[in-house]
């Protein structure tokens, strides 16, 4: 029973840690499926996290914070879109620029506004997305085996965590089953064909980039309003890049992306949980070994287990209409 409780706790923690990855990964999925490589996921999330925390601390409303986060993130996405789509610039360069801009700007503005070393003031109460407890969670928790599943896995997460699930369902459905999704994927594979059919490549790509911005906005807001209580300089800590790795691992598909991010989150949770625990037969595992575990697994999985990952054909190529 002890082991079961531990498993539940690890899964719960893994879910919490994977939410920002899921948002970022889906954002990357939308963008890259339309042929725009997005290295700037990290920067967009960071900008969103800062804007969300700043707005939430000013208005004491998490929802307004989320809206501000989305606006900031979409703003950065449009910069990327302008450079990559309208100006046909190098998409990697533009993405890297966004990362650097966001990292520097958030720290600078944060320091100027709050003078707390780039932090925003700690958020309390309504300024944060508190964990939602589902009806009857406490009573059902008493039921053996099934109880904890309901109380800790299904219930007890922030509203944004459920949004991640909804975003996955929507992304999967729209990309695979709708006309818009089909065209969007076509733009990422063969934009000339789409253009010949009389559909605007530019519009589709902008739409994808904006959707990516919205998703990054959710991810960033989750970081500063759900997971932590306020913004910290560089709080994304490479999550945008891990999401990119997850995207490759998932071969640019929505549901595999979801599961991959869950796996990465889970590995992180295991690393946290296994610290200082005495494993039977092995003894206490050194902290360093545990902390290397998620990265080690990532390398092994990426190197050996996924087979061939083929990116969208036109990914990273600006579309030039022939005249």
């Amino acid at each position: 029973m002890e082991i079961y409780a531990t498993l539940i706790a690890i899964t719960e923690s893994g879910l919490r840690l994977s939410v920002p990855l899921i948002f970022a990964c889906l954002a990357g999925l939308w963008s890259e499926r339309s042929g725009v490589v997005d290295i700037g996921l990290e920067g967009k999330m960071l900008a969103a996290a800062f804007a969300a925390a700043a707005a939430a601390s000013a208005t004491n409303s998490a929802v307004i914070g989320l809206a501000a986060g989305i606006i900031a993130s979409v703003g950065f996405a449009l910069i990327h879109g302008f450079a990559a789509i309208s100006q046909r610039g190098n998409q990697i360069v533009s993405g890297v620029a966004i990362n650097m801009l966001a990292a520097g700007l958030t720290a600078l503005v944060g320091n100027a506004w709050y003078a707390q070393g780039g932090r925003t003031p700690p958020l309390e109460g309504d300024a944060r997305f508190q964990p939602l407890t589902w009806p009857g969670a406490e009573i059902i928790d008493q039921i053996p085996v099934i109880g904890p599943l309901y109380a800790h896995i299904l219930s007890g997460h922030s509203a944004l965590a459920y949004c991640a699930l909804i975003a996955t369902i929507l992304s999967g459905f729209v990309l695979a089953r709708t006309r818009f999704g089909l065209r969007l994927r076509a733009v990422g594979e063969n934009p000339a064909a789409v253009d010949t059919a009389g559909v605007s490549v530019t519009k589709l790509r902008y739409a994808a980039v904006i959707i990516a911005g919205v998703l990054c906005g959710f991810g960033g807001a989750y970081l500063s309003l759900g997971q932590a209580a306020g913004f910290l300089t560089n709080m994304t800590a490479g999550k945008g890049f891990i999401a990119l790795a997850a995207l490759i691992f998932a071969k640019w598909r929505a549901w595999p992306a979801f599961w991959t991010c869950l796996l990465f989150g889970l590995l992180d949770a295991v690393a946290i949980r296994l610290q200082g625990v005495v494993v039977p037969g092995i003894g206490q595992i050194p902290v360093q070994a545990i902390q290397a575990l998620p990265y080690l697994m990532t390398v092994v999985l990426l190197a050996g287990f996924i087979g061939k990952a083929i990116p969208p054909k036109a990914s990273g190529l600006p579309y030039v209409k022939e005249r």
Binding site: G117, R273, Q288
Partner: protein, 360 residues
């Protein structure tokens, strides 16, 4: 008589140096001002010596506003500035490579004393102190053996012992937790003192320990701190003590969110979640900062090692309006008795750093 003459002479020299850098291109003016400086210097008293003190601070990676260790230094420096009117400069490093640069920059600009916060500055201080033998350096949390370096270290194990005792007394489950920042001997010293205190109060007490990481980033990762705390709470812990700088913000919040108790460190963190922070282990870095700057101002600054424990008021525990209701009379008398015994030497708290071991 002789000493006064020396002091005046030194003053004139230092003022001359100062003016020279200002008017390097105006030799005539420089001469006139120099002679004026000499005249003035003769008339000035020792108090005027204060003007040559230019304190500077280089913070550790946690940052100036970590609500903990670095912030304590900053508050101390602010207080010094208010009471003495002497301005100070400070710098927050963003990565390890900047330590040496920042120290050297300050030394080059004529700052002295330069206060280096944190054990990880040791090698940088050692190097830069050698390059600027006339500049005074003070390092907190580490010993650097050089003729112009003052090392201030604390007996964290003694303060941690007291909060460990309080934790075990406040815990209903008999399980208390510890979340450290970077996994280094210094933090193990906190943990070890805490364990001893908890076992002193309740020999059956169980102490769960976690470290956030092995790099400097571990001082500033509240999300991970919160996850570690949640994981300890899941295992039955109901009082969590952190020694993790900025990471501790997450530890205290996670404990407060779960309706459990946190214990702050370094600065008084009781007010961060009133009624949810049992107490804070005070490490009086603020006093150490003031003492160092004041000594430099008074001309009594000395290189060497000073070790501040309970007896010297260097460590302690915080009791204020925010946690008054949490500390029962029984707890208070027990912790006061233990504090007196430690000061008198009746209880010896084992120091992890003396043999890299913690008695179980």
């Amino acid at each position: 008589m002789l000493t006064v003459g020396k002091a005046v002479n030194g003053l004139a020299l230092s003022q001359g140096f100062c003016f020279r850098s200002l008017f390097a291109n105006h030799k005539g003016l420089l001469m006139r001002i120099l002679s004026l400086g000499l005249l003035l210097a003769g008339a000035m008293t020792v108090a005027a010596h204060a003007e040559t003190v230019k304190p500077a601070i280089v913070y550790d990676l946690g940052g100036k506003f970590d609500k903990s260790f670095n912030e304590g230094v900053f508050r101390g420096a602010e207080q010094f500035q208010k009471s003495s009117g002497v301005e100070f400069r400070d710098f927050e490093i963003q990565n390890d490579a900047q330590r040496e640069q920042a120290l050297r920059r300050f030394a080059k600009d004529g700052f002295s004393p330069i206060l280096a916060v944190g054990f990880s500055q040791a090698s940088a201080v050692e190097k830069v102190a050698k390059e600027f033998p006339k500049t005074k350096f003070t390092i907190i949390d580490m010993v650097v053996d050089a003729p112009n370096v003052q090392s201030v270290v604390f007996k964290e194990q003694e303060g941690s012992f007291l909060v460990g005792l309080l934790a075990a007394k406040a815990s209903k489950s008999g399980k208390v937790g510890f979340v450290g920042g970077m996994d280094i001997p210094l933090i193990r010293r906190f943990a070890c003192g805490y364990v001893q205190g908890a076992k002193f109060a309740n020999p059956k007490a169980e102490v769960l320990q976690n470290m956030t990481g092995t790099t400097g980033a571990a001082w500033n990762d509240p999300v991970k701190g919160a996850e570690l705390t949640k994981s300890q709470i899941d295992r039955g812990v109901d009082v969590v003590y952190h020694a993790a700088g900025g990471t501790g913000v997450g530890v205290l919040r996670a404990a407060a969110d779960a309706g459990k108790l946190g214990i702050g460190v370094d600065s008084n963190q009781n007010g961060m979640h009133p009624g949810k922070v049992l107490t804070s282990m005070l490490k009086r870095v603020d006093n150490a900062t003031i003492a160092s700057f004041q000594a430099a101002k008074d001309g009594t600054w000395k290189a060497g090692i000073s070790v501040l424990g309970l007896k010297e008021n260097g460590v302690g525990w915080a009791l204020d309006d925010n946690n008054k209701a949490l500390i029962t009379a029984d707890m208070k008398s027990a912790v006061d008795a233990a504090a007196a015994d430690i000061s008198s030497g009746k209880i010896v708290v084992h120091d992890y750093m003396s043999d890299s071991k913690c008695p179980e």
